[in-house]
Amino acid sequence: MDGIRHRAWSAIVTLGLLAVAGAAAIVAQAQDEFKPASPDDLALERLPATPFVFAAYAIVWIVLIGYVFVLWRRLGRVEQEMAALTARLDQPRR
């Protein structure tokens, strides 16, 4: 049991550190020199808004539907366990 708990904690801490490192990598950097733009840079300049709007709305739907689904499964599992326990308690009485 302690081993599982220890592994779970290790996984959580590792994921947390990875998230912080990832966030740090994408932080805006202060500019210390100017360079001529490449065609790739110019493509970035014309970044279309549509994929960002769609991605944002998709995330809202996925997170909410996912949470509702997980919540219902957890509730169903507890109720199932309770029904099984009740049936087990009722058995000797019959």
């Binding site: 994408i26 960002f52 991605a55 944002a56 919540l71 957890r74 509730l75 309770m82 308690l89």
Partner: protein
């Protein structure tokens, strides 16, 4: 011995919220484009209501935690636990839709400015609350309640951070000064998020009550 009773209000709230979320894109489409950001500003209509409900949820958790610390009422503890989990879920929405908006509007995914940083810290505090409840063992609910209070204390800092410090993030004055065609979709989405939040809070509290009943039943069996 029975699981906690399902309130008939939950299915009604869920159906209303689902209908409002389904209609939201049409309502948002009726709003005019913002002059400097154009289409990408439409992320605002989900990002801001999710953010406001997240902060409201942090307040619910804090108040319920205070009641639990003062009176040791199990219902208050269940409400605090449910609200903390919902704060984390809504925080995921806020902290992912925000960077998508920022990438187009500011040119960066993330900036360590006051609003973003304080929102992330608040989300991590409620994440810590959930970890404490999950792995803290017996008695962790008291420590978690203290953490819930601390999380609630961060809410005013998150909300007014944009007015107190220099920041890239739009200020709190944006919302009350919105013209009617832009305000109406925000209020629509805010109402949808609040209704869904209430439904999920009730279900989550019921789950905790059912778990408590199950634990009590196991104890009875062991005796």
């Amino acid at each position: 011995m029975s699981v906690a009773r399902q309130t008939p209000l939950v299915p009604v709230l869920l159906v209303v919220a689902a209908g409002m979320f389904a209609a939201a894109p049409y309502v948002i489409d009726s709003a005019p484009y913002e002059s400097s950001m154009g289409l990408v500003q439409r992320i605002f209509y989900f990002h801001v209501p999710a953010g406001l409900v997240m902060l409201g949820s942090a307040l619910v958790c804090g108040i319920a935690s205070a009641i639990y610390l003062g009176r040791r009422r199990p219902t208050a503890d269940r409400v605090a636990f449910a609200a903390a989990e919902l704060t984390v879920v809504l925080g995921i929405i806020v902290l992912t839709t925000g960077p998508l908006w920022a990438r187009k509007a500011w040119g960066v995914w993330w900036d360590w400015e006051p609003r973003l940083t304080s929102s992330l810290v608040t989300w991590m505090v409620f994440g810590a609350y959930l970890l404490l409840r999950r792995f803290g063992g017996a008695g962790s609910e008291v420590l978690a309640a203290a953490l819930g209070l601390f999380g609630m204390a961060l809410v005013p800092f998150v909300y007014w951070s944009v007015n107190m410090w220099r920041t890239l993030h739009p200020k709190t004055s944006v919302l009350p000064t919105l013209p009617a065609p832009m305000l109406w979709p925000v209020l629509w989405c805010l109402a949808a998020f609040i209704i869904l939040y209430l439904a999920l809070l009730l279900v989550r509290v019921r789950l905790e009550a059912s778990r408590a009943a199950l634990e009590a039943a196991y104890l009875t069996v062991e005796e």
